[in-house]
């Protein structure tokens, strides 16, 4: 038996460099982020009474969604949101240039957002109504965040609109599985063991039914929800979203994640929270459902055991989209309007005080880590150790003394599929400025404008083969140039997953920005 060993001989000839645009936006982000912080107040929040009823209207459908490097894929998903809250949703892109080998499309036409001022409509039993038709074929990527408070009664009114963007795709039934809620089997949203899935809106028995899922969460924490119909396909196709349960009295409970509001979880105070939902994309699965995938090298249909993703995402975005920039059709303002609560670019202030001796200065940022993908992901943050205060909706008091600087504090957290972690980051662990040697070529130019590493006016290290080296210049002077606003990468440490189909930087990669 021979073992074939693959080796890379030498370095790749083409060195990829961080695009100038990214660096420019990062610099602008530093300034804008600082302004944002300066104006961030904390208005009084009316405390919701216990047992409050929270209603979400959700629809299952399909669509096409852009890839980070310009193409598009077919997806299934949910669209809708909290009843009565004006709804902005991303419209399906119009794909073109199908590739039978990858199952993806090479190009697309961007269609912007759609809005429903009255909010996600209440589903109507029976055939699709005019308002529902406006949502059909516009599955969100990922699904809207559902948030509520302990002891609330959550009602999800759910209707399956069927496929619309591609009427020839399988018109499957769908279900909602509330991952981590420990409901009984009948309520579990698994078609085989629970009450069956909801058929698509076509001529089958039960089509057009409105199913009311009801639950009352008893444990605060980070959850997920997803379709459990043919989970190997439907989860990969995009039928998932974050589910966040707050404690009573949390300021964030009235706004949801990513709203710059604080709360308390497992005994730890936090000033703001972020959802970081990890997923991967294997375009071939999407192409198979879409009908454009021609089969693997043996001509066989797509087999889920051959799962081999090309894209890695946080909240449905790959770098640099994660830090609000991107080429082609990507438009951050549009995107965040349609995906509220899903901003993966982490920012925090070093100067926040808490009036509590146990809590050092600096924003306490709660990262709600969710792995909704099929792979295990080692997520590494630069510059910080963050405290693992809990996992899978349970506090880890045993792992933490009530102190910062000891206990279960990690800079790399390995997250398996289906797991969630609450990872508390103290921005105050870093200072706001970082001193760069003046004569070095850095991403921060003394004039405040960034320069690319390709600036030939500066001395650079050359690689043995003579190519300019991406790492920058020889450090020759050390006059010291303090720069405000530090940026720290936070990324998948399986570094090939920090690429977009092999192009670095990309993928599961975002930033932590330290602000004044």
């Amino acid at each position: 038996m021979s073992v074939k060993i693959l080796t890379y001989l030498g370095r790749p000839l083409v060195r990829r460099r961080w695009p100038l645009a990214i660096l420019a936006i990062v610099a602008v982000g530093v300034v804008a982020g600082g302004l944002l912080f300066a104006f961030a107040g904390s208005p009084a929040v009316a405390k919701a009474p216990p047992g409050t009823t929270v209603v979400y209207n959700l629809f299952a459908t399909d669509g096409y969604v852009a890839l980070p490097d310009g193409g598009a894929i077919y997806n299934y998903g949910f669209v809708g949101g909290r009843a009565g809250v004006p709804l902005t949703f991303a419209k399906s892109v119009t794909p073109s240039d199908p590739d039978g080998k990858t199952g993806a499309y090479g190009d697309l036409t961007y269609n912007g957002n759609g809005t429903l001022a009255a909010g996600a409509p209440t589903p109507t039993p029976g055939p699709i109504t005019g308002t529902e038709a406006e949502l059909a074929g516009h599955a969100q990527w990922p699904a809207p965040i559902i948030y509520a408070t302990v002891d609330d009664v959550v009602q999800i009114r759910f209707k399956n609109l069927g496929v619309n963007a591609n009427p020839d795709a399988p018109n499957d039934p769908h279900s909602i599985h509330l991952h981590g809620l420990d409901v009984n089997a009948a309520n579990d949203g698994v078609p085989e063991t629970s009450i069956g899935a909801v058929p698509a809106n076509a001529v089958t028995p039960g089509a057009g039914n409105v199913i009311v899922y009801m639950f009352s969460p008893k444990n605060a924490g980070t959850y997920m929800y997803h379709c459990h119909q043919e989970a190997d396909i439907h989860v990969q196709m995009g039928m998932y979203g974050a589910l966040v349960i707050y404690n009573k009295g949390d300021a964030a409970a009235a706004f949801g994640p990513g709203a710059n509001k604080g709360g308390k979880l497992f005994g730890w105070d936090y000033d703001k929270d972020y959802v970081l939902l990890l997923t991967e994309v294997d375009t071939r699965q999407h192409g198979a459902e879409d009908g454009i995938f021609e089969g693997d090298y043996q001509g066989d249909a797509y087999n889920p055991v051959n799962y081999h993703p090309q894209y890695w995402q946080i909240n449905g975005l790959s770098f640099p989209n994660t830090i609000h920039v991107g080429s082609g059709s990507f438009n951050w303002t549009d995107w965040i309007a349609a995906h509220p609560g899903y901003d993966p670019f982490i920012t925090g202030s070093v100067s926040k005080t808490h009036g509590n001796s146990a809590n050092p200065k600096g924003d306490k940022v709660l990262l709600r880590m969710i792995n909704m993908g099929f792979e295990t992901q080692p997520i590494h943050m630069h510059g910080f150790h963050a405290k693992v205060i809990g996992s899978d909706q349970r506090g880890w008091n045993w792992a933490n003394t009530p102190k910062w600087g000891e206990g279960y504090e990690k800079q790399t957290l390995t997250i398996g599929s289906g797991e969630t972690y609450e990872w508390l980051l103290n921005i105050g662990q870093q200072s706001v400025t970082s001193t760069y040697p003046a004569e070095t070529q850095t991403r921060y130019d003394p004039s405040g404008l960034p320069v690319a590493n390709t600036d030939t006016s500066k001395t650079v290290i050359t690689a043995p083969d003579g190519d300019p080296y991406i790492g920058g210049p020889t450090v020759s002077g050390a006059n010291g140039l303090p720069m405000p606003g530090q940026l720290f990468p936070m990324h998948n440490h399986d570094d090939y997953k920090a690429t977009n189909n092999g192009v670095y930087p990309g993928g599961m990669f975002t930033m932590i920005e330290v602000l004044p």
């Binding site: 216990p50 109507t124 002891d151 499957d172 009984n184 409105v210 009311v212 009801m214």
Partner: protein
Amino acid sequence: MVSSAGRSLIVVVGLGLAVLGLAGCGTQATTAPEAEQVLAVQSQMPFQIMIPSYLPKGFDRKNIEIIADQTGPGGEPMVQLAYRTKKGATVTLQEWVPVNPDQEILNASRPIQTKWGRGWNLDQGDQLAAIWADVGPTRVSIYTADVATVSNERLLAIAETLGPASNKVVFSFDAAPKQIQEMAAPPAYEAPTTAAGVQEVTLVVTPGGYSPLRFSVKAGVPVKLTFRQLGEVGCGNELIFPSDPVNPVSLQLASATDEQTIEFTPSQVGIFEFRCSHQMYRGLLTVRE
């Protein structure tokens, strides 16, 4: 000589009976300080808003929360009433007239009988209890997240003492302790007998389970069962079938279009489970005399 309070009680009782079309029940009036607030939103609802005469101890009628601008599960006008205790237990009532009652479904609930007719009970242990009750054309959803304070039975008692809000009182027609009574399941599908004297059944497994889920055959008459699948069913392609209850047979579908047939003559009367190889899909075979 009847006191003035007594007179108004009689008048309102009469009105209540007229509205509900009920007679002959023992009545018991309860003061309803919330009635006035409820009547204030009555004009916004195209149906009679009902309030319960029975509420478990400690629920504060006076500080009822009324929301009238929400919609029901099918988009209908809906009123929501929330009663609370000082400790924070809440019972919520939602009332609406479903546009299509059979297509608005409370997930994972079981059909129950209420004195009004059909109802549904969603029992999520100590997390949540809910009852949907159809009172005439109006559907009332009554639920709580505090099951320790308000059990499923108490929700049913609330449901069964619903009556129209008057400005003074609300009526109870029944004060007996409640018991959740499950609706008898509809009879199993009876396999028809062909001219040749064979009972023929086609059993289809879909991602949502077996169709028919339950069927019955007559003992002593030959049965021809055809098994096939519709959609992605995973392990559902294998059927463990109790043609002989002691030694069930396995029927395995080789492909999405494959059909497997088994012929047998049932002898033992009873109810037997058929299932997929992993017990994820389950159904019932009834062999009758």
